[in-house]
């Protein structure tokens, strides 16, 4: 029967990298700990090396990202980690050999933006009775770990396009006078931000651009909440090591800083958070249990000092927000300098105008090379987007990752079901003038650093997670397919098996 065949191939597929699954299952709790303290775990496992089976992938050109390209190299994988990479690597006896001659190996791609992948549930797809209202999926009330759906088909689409790790948004930020309340569902078809926030409006009668007027009164201050997201590995069907990290950013909407009153509110929030950190430190010294203000949410509904904000002021995570025009970016940089936190800016349409400023302010960026913003008459510093932004950023040393036009699995989206994909978005960055190496970094190590996971993912280095792709060509070529996607040493996607993309050879 087909089912059995399917499972057999699946099991064979697993055997391909022949991971010691039993051994892995046996110390499953250990694995979870490892996610929290990877460095410790690494040390602890070093002496065990001899016993666990080793897989060797040979013959491929290895794009390590951080250590150049190794032609015809060898990758050794053991216990879900990369054991060795190089040309002169001796393959230990008894190692499982995988021939990848003529193929290309890159680290698994990392996406900073995803929605509706792996976490939103397909509610009510069966069961005995009517589904629970809400149909499943992540709600602000539900913990992310409980909302994971390892059987989400979208995971396979992501893998087919090389994404092995993604930061999945599970709840949009709420608050703001005209903003959506916390807990409200995402719109079914999220529009790209530049469509929502495009200020290039045209008069319907005469076709002239409408120039914005300043609002008469200040914006009413309201609390803004950070968007909730979590870093999830695309381990299809396997939940055990899926959730990597919650809230890698303090992700606030641009509106959180719009207007004097909102900015005041934000300053107050940061002030309170810093005080809370200080109180906590003092309490730790004096041996008291908890300082009252250190508890997240102690500030009440107003000026809520959330866990994210506390981490932000401790510089454990950066602030992430959207800024499209040069003016918006300058504002964000000034605020970040004043309040002292790290900054990631999304959009950055006009970054080519001020790449130097971004570089000296050590801002990291999320760029969508294909996204467009027209020059706007009447505003001096609003000059629109440029395909060359990527090369300007590269020259100024501003790290950038790429995001597709949409965050979900859709046309133009994350792993678009047309042939657009995250790698193709990076190819557009190359089109704009940056080097291929930088474009590949934009897919791998840069987002890994942004999320604070550079010690685990984003490059092919000894000791890192064995998250890699076997590709049939240059990663930035539009013709290239992902042959196999490996996460933690296990094959989770095989082009010949999933049949998402054509399986036949090119003529």
């Amino acid at each position: 029967m087909r089912m059995t065949k399917l499972f057999t191939t699946f099991i064979l597929g697993l055997g391909f990298v022949a991971f010691a699954q039993e051994a892995k299952k046996a110390d499953a709790p250990k694995e979870e700990k490892k996610a929290e303290a990877p460095k410790e775990a690494k040390k602890a496992e070093a002496p065990k090396e001899v016993k666990k089976p080793i897989t060797a992938i040979v013959g491929a050109d290895i794009y390590t990202v951080t250590k150049g390209v190794i032609r015809n190299g060898v990758v050794l994988i053991q216990d879900g980690k990369i054991l060795k990479v190089g040309q002169d690597v001796t393959i230990p006896e008894g190692a499982i050999r995988i021939d990848a001659t003529g193929k290309v190996i890159t680290p698994g791609f990392v996406s900073v933006n995803a929605t509706g992948v792996a976490v939103a549930a397909v509610g009510g797809a069966g069961g005995g009775g009517p589904p629970t209202p809400g149909g499943g999926g992540a709600t602000p009330q539900s913990r992310i770990a409980d909302s994971l759906n390892p059987f989400d088909r979208n995971i396979q689409f992501c893998l087919a396009n090389g994404i092995t790790t993604a930061n999945v948004e599970v709840a949009s930020g709420g608050g703001g006078r005209f903003g959506r309340a916390e807990g409200e569902d995402d719109p079914p078809f999220p529009l790209p931000p530049e469509l929502l926030e495009d200020d290039t409006r045209v008069c319907p009668c005469c076709g002239m651009a409408i120039i914005d007027t300043q609002p008469i009164g200040p914006t009413v201050p309201t609390d803004r909440n950070a968007r909730r997201s979590a870093v999830v590995k695309m381990t299809f069907g396997d939940m055990s090591n899926m959730l990597v990290k919650e809230s890698p950013f303090c992700h606030m909407s641009a509106g959180s800083f719009a207007g004097a009153m909102n900015r005041h509110q934000w300053r107050e929030t940061i002030k309170r958070a810093k005080q809370a950190v200080k109180d906590k430190a003092a309490a730790d010294v004096s041996g008291e249990d908890t300082a009252p203000a250190a508890t997240p949410g102690a500030g009440g509904r107003r000026g809520n000092v959330t866990e994210e904000v506390l981490k932000l002021v401790k510089k454990e995570i950066p602030l992430r927000t959207e800024a499209y025009s040069a003016e918006q970016m300058r504002d964000a940089i000034a605020l970040a300098k004043e309040l002292d936190y790290n900054l990631i800016l999304d959009g950055v349409h006009e970054a080519w105008l001020m790449a130097g400023e971004l570089g000296s302010a050590k801002v990291q960026t999320v760029l969508t090379p294909r996204s467009r913003r027209r020059p706007q008459p009447g505003r001096d510093d609003t000059t629109g987007s440029s395909i060359e932004t990527s090369s300007f950023l590269e020259k100024a040393g501003v790290p950038f990752t790429v995001a597709p036009l949409g965050n979900s699995v859709s046309l133009d989206g994350l792993p678009g079901r047309d042939l657009t994909s995250i790698a193709l978005e990076a190819a557009f960055a190359v089109r704009g003038g940056c080097s291929e190496a930088t474009a590949l970094e934009a897919l791998t190590i840069v987002p890994a650093r942004m999320m604070g996971l550079a010690d685990r993912i984003g490059s092919i280095e000894e000791g890192k997670d064995a998250d890699l792709l076997i590709l049939d060509g240059n990663p930035l070529d539009y013709r290239t397919y992902v042959e196999k996607a490996v996460i933690g040493g296990k094959v989770y996607y095989d082009r010949m098996r999933e049949k998402i993309y054509p399986v036949g050879p090119r003529q």
């Binding site: 029967m1 087909r2 089912m3 059995t4 399917l6 499972f7 549930a121 397909v122 509610g123 009510g124 797809a125 069966g126 069961g127 005995g128 009775g129 009517p130 589904p131 629970t132 209202p133 809400g134 149909g135 499943g136 999926g137 992540a138 709600t139 009330q141 539900s142 913990r143 409980d146 909302s147 994971l148 759906n149 390892p150 059987f151 989400d152 088909r153 396979q156 069907g237 939940m239």
Partner: protein
């Protein structure tokens, strides 16, 4: 219960004792005595005396039945016995076998060419608790000049504890056609979580339908924290309860507290409906630390297909519908039951898929001439016959923890059985007799 009602019912039972239809004691399900009764009639008088004698032991008065010349699928160690006899006395099976002597007082039914199998037990028969009470029905109200229709009440809320027995409505028309499908026992569950009720499928005798008012623990879950917490917090509490007498006392005072203590200790089973494949994976993960828990998962075949790896080798039973479904993300049909069987996972069938016991029933199943057709099709397409038959009776009994008394045809077990004119899985055969606790609930002679 009015006296008149009582008399009417017992009288009916008594009258059925008279040999009729070749010894069959079928009542057709809905026959009542035609008023006015002539109490002056000598025969009626005799009946009344009999009633008085019978009143204390209504069950004991059930006739002794011997079904002979039948092929018996015992679902027990004896396996299939050809041309054998079953003797039923006092609601129980007295004897089964080839060389069983037929007692003198027995009504003999010749079942030549027919097959006897244990009655069908539905382990997950969902009832709409809200619809069973009038005040919870959808109603229209007027607020500020606007007419608003408010959906039906209490039963709809998830995560609230429902003791199904408290809401059981035996007069529901939805139960009436079930004997002719072959149902003998149902485990009634509702939405949300709570305690099920096990009933005998004997709608002609509504007062005696309730078998176990204190049924087993059930819940419906999806992959959300509050949903999963229904299971996790209860098991966590019960774990503490099993370690501390004080906690056990506190729990015993709560609704369903004792039940969950028993679930934790493995003394009572737990049945959970999972909304999707992810919910199955989360559920198995949540229950895994509790080694004694006897978990049964109800889900769609698609969900099982996705999550099958997380079920293999686990102490878990499943409940599926005997349907063919599509493999996830494909147009390929597959048989979920066969998949579970090949993965070595024990399962039972639930033939019903929606809240059934309501007046506005969409009961395509019972309208069918041959309700076991889907099961027969599974057998034709490769599911072993014994596995399929067991999934109708023995497995559900095991899932519900009543396998010592139900689910197979053995001496000493309750007499829940079906007599088919031919093979139960042959579309040409018909269900001839349904017997529940020794009483005939359906006869088609």
């Amino acid at each position: 219960m009015s006296v008149a009602g009582r008399v009417g019912r017992v009288l009916e039972t008594h009258q059925l004792d008279l040999p009729k239809n070749g010894g069959n004691c079928g009542n057709g399900g809905s026959r009542i005595l035609d008023p006015p009764y002539d109490y002056g009639h000598p025969r009626m008088m005799r009946n009344l005396i009999a009633i008085l004698m019978l009143a204390t032991s209504a069950f004991a008065a059930d006739p002794v039945i011997a079904l002979r010349n039948a092929n018996i699928e015992t679902m027990a160690a004896a396996g299939r016995i050809e041309k054998a006899t079953v003797v039923i006395r006092n609601g129980k099976i007295e004897a089964v076998g080839k060389d069983v002597a037929i007692p003198d007082d027995a009504k003999v039914i010749d079942a030549a060419g027919g097959t006897i199998m244990p009655g069908i037990i539905d382990p997950f028969f969902e009832v709409n608790v809200a619809a069973a009470t009038a005040d919870a029905a959808p109603r229209t109200i007027v607020i500020g000049g606007r007419t608003v229709t408010v959906p039906g009440g209490v039963g709809g809320r998830p995560n609230t504890f429902t003791r199904v027995a408290d809401n059981f409505y035996p007069y529901d028309a939805g139960y009436k056609p079930l004997p002719r499908v072959g149902f003998t026992r149902l485990n009634l569950v509702a939405s949300g979580n709570g305690q099920s009720a096990m009933i005998r499928v004997n709608p002609a005798d509504p007062d005696h339908m309730m078998d176990r008012a204190d049924g087993i623990a059930f819940a419906s879950i999806t992959n959300q924290s509050d949903s999963l917490d229904q299971i996790r917090t209860k098991l966590e509490q019960a774990k503490r309860g099993s370690n501390s007498a004080t906690m056990a006392k506190v729990m015993a005072g709560q609704a369903g507290g004792q039940m969950w203590l028993d679930v934790h200790d493995g003394k009572a089973p737990l049945i959970v409906s999972a909304a999707n494949s992810a919910a199955i994976a989360h559920l198995v993960r949540a229950v895994e630390p509790y080694k004694n828990v006897k978990l049964t998962i109800m889900a769609s075949g698609v969900a099982f297909a996705d999550a099958i790896e997380s079920l293999k080798g686990k102490n878990v039973r499943c409940v599926v519908h005997p349907n063919l479904e599509m493999l996830p993300n494909t147009r390929d049909r597959f048989a979920p039951a066969r998949m579970l069987h090949e993965a070595g996972i024990a399962f039972g069938f639930s033939l019903t898929s929606r809240p059934q016991a309501t007046a506005d029933i969409d009961n395509s199943l019972v309208q069918q001439e041959f309700p076991l057709f889907p099961v027969a099709m599974l057998v034709k397409s490769g599911l072993p016959r014994q596995v399929a038959l067991a999934a109708l009776s023995k497995q559900p009994a095991t899932i519900l923890g009543i396998e010592a008394t139900h689910g197979s045809i053995e001496a000493g077990k309750m007499a829940d059985l079906l007599l088919y004119t031919g093979d139960p899985l042959d579309p040409a055969s018909r269900l001839r007799l349904t017997i529940v606790d020794g009483r005939t609930t359906h006869a088609n002679d």
